[in-house]
């Protein structure tokens, strides 16, 4: 099959598309894995196809891809769990922790684990995935103010955690 290298697409130049695909695809696979998807690669690929299928442009493609991956992962798990998944199970699914192992150190993972799943999810997207508050609000389908509140509460939790364990001295 002939590669579409010289072709200009609605998504820009082919080179640009390849670069962005190469940077986003592994992130989306990892994100799907965090939600316990059985076939995270399929979900990430499906998200790209859904985005490219659209006639109308999307304001934030990255957020759209993340949101689609999240929805598809949760939908994939639904019949397995009889439609009752706790958020804890979603964020810490069977394969989930493996996804973090090669990304974050043991210390960071421990601190993340101490947070509630809601805060952890928001914090992960903000700090690890390096997404903006606006993008996170689109992915989670919540107002930007809620994202900010969650981030600030997560910060307060982390501070308390460090103060109680004397971690602040270690950091200093």
């Amino acid at each position: 099959m002939e590669p579409l290298k010289t072709q200009t697409t609605p998504f820009g130049d082919s080179h640009e598309f390849h670069d962005i695909f190469a940077s986003l695809y592994p992130r989306l696979v990892s994100y799907a894995r965090r939600y316990g998807a059985t076939y995270p690669e399929d979900i990430a690929q499906e998200a790209f196809v859904i985005l490219m299928q659209r006639d109308s442009p999307v304001e934030h493609p990255t957020a759209y891809l993340y949101g689609t991956v999240r929805t598809l992962s949760l939908t994939e798990r639904r019949p397995l769990k009889n439609q009752s998944i706790s958020l804890e199970a979603v964020v810490e699914p069977g394969k989930g922790p493996d996804a973090d192992e090669d990304l974050l150190s043991q210390e960071v993972r421990e601190r993340m684990k101490a947070l509630s799943p809601t805060f952890r999810e928001t914090l992960w997207l903000f700090v690890v995935e390096d997404l903006s508050i606006r993008q996170i609000s689109e992915i989670l389908d919540i107002p930007e103010a809620t994202v900010k509140t969650r981030i600030h509460r997560a910060k307060a939790h982390l501070r308390n955690q460090l103060n109680s364990s004397g971690g602040l001295h270690v950091l200093a």
Binding site: G12, H18, F21, S23, Q45, F48, E59, V128, I151, K155
Partner: protein, 180 residues
């Protein structure tokens, strides 16, 4: 559609500072030298990206058209049923209007006939009072029953019986006296 996200590039400094602070709290380097997921586009990834783009295009060509036809086919029976109901409704309304017109016409005719029947009876009645001789009782003068003269037409006819006061003494008006 641009892949470059304006939300990320236009991020305010406060957000960047907050992210750095959180990185510090988590024990991560504040400014990452390399992104965790930074990957060079390998031939496999390029091939996969092109495959996905082809798949999206294929779906756009096939799935969209099919779905519009399916939608049209599904909507057709509903549209027909709705149209049929509309035609039937208009017919029913026309029938009801005609029926109402006939009833109103008949009613008007009946009223006209009733008025025509009342007209000759009312004229002599108004001309002279009807005198009826009532049967005379024992020791009572003959009484004359008078049908109300000049009573309004719409009012019911009244029967007026003239009453004469009794000349006999009222038994309650007498006083009994005990004899010795």
């Amino acid at each position: 559609m641009s892949w470059h996200d304006p939300a990320r590039s236009l991020e305010p400094e406060s957000e960047t500072a907050l992210r750095n602070e959180l990185r510090g709290l988590l024990g991560m380097p504040k400014t990452p030298e390399t992104t965790y997921f930074e990957t060079e586009p390998t031939p496999e990834l390029i091939h996969l990206a092109d495959e996905l783009r082809r798949e999206a295009r294929r779906r756009n060509v096939t799935a969209r058209k099919k779905s519009s036809w399916m939608l049209l086919a599904a909507a057709l029976p509903f549209a027909l049923a709705l149209g049929g109901m509309g035609v039937w409704g208009v017919g029913q309304k026309h029938k009801a209007d005609q029926l109402a017109l006939t009833v109103a016409h008949e009613e008007a005719e009946l009223q006209r006939m009733a008025a025509a029947l009342q007209q000759p009876q009312a004229a002599p009645a108004a001309a002279k009072p009807l005198a009826v001789q009532a049967p005379s009782g024992k020791g009572r003068p003959a009484q004359t029953l008078l049908v109300g003269k000049g009573a309004p037409r719409n009012k019911a006819k009244e029967l007026v019986i003239p009453v004469e006061r009794s000349k006999e003494s009222n038994p309650n008006a007498t006083q009994s006296v005990k004899s010795n």
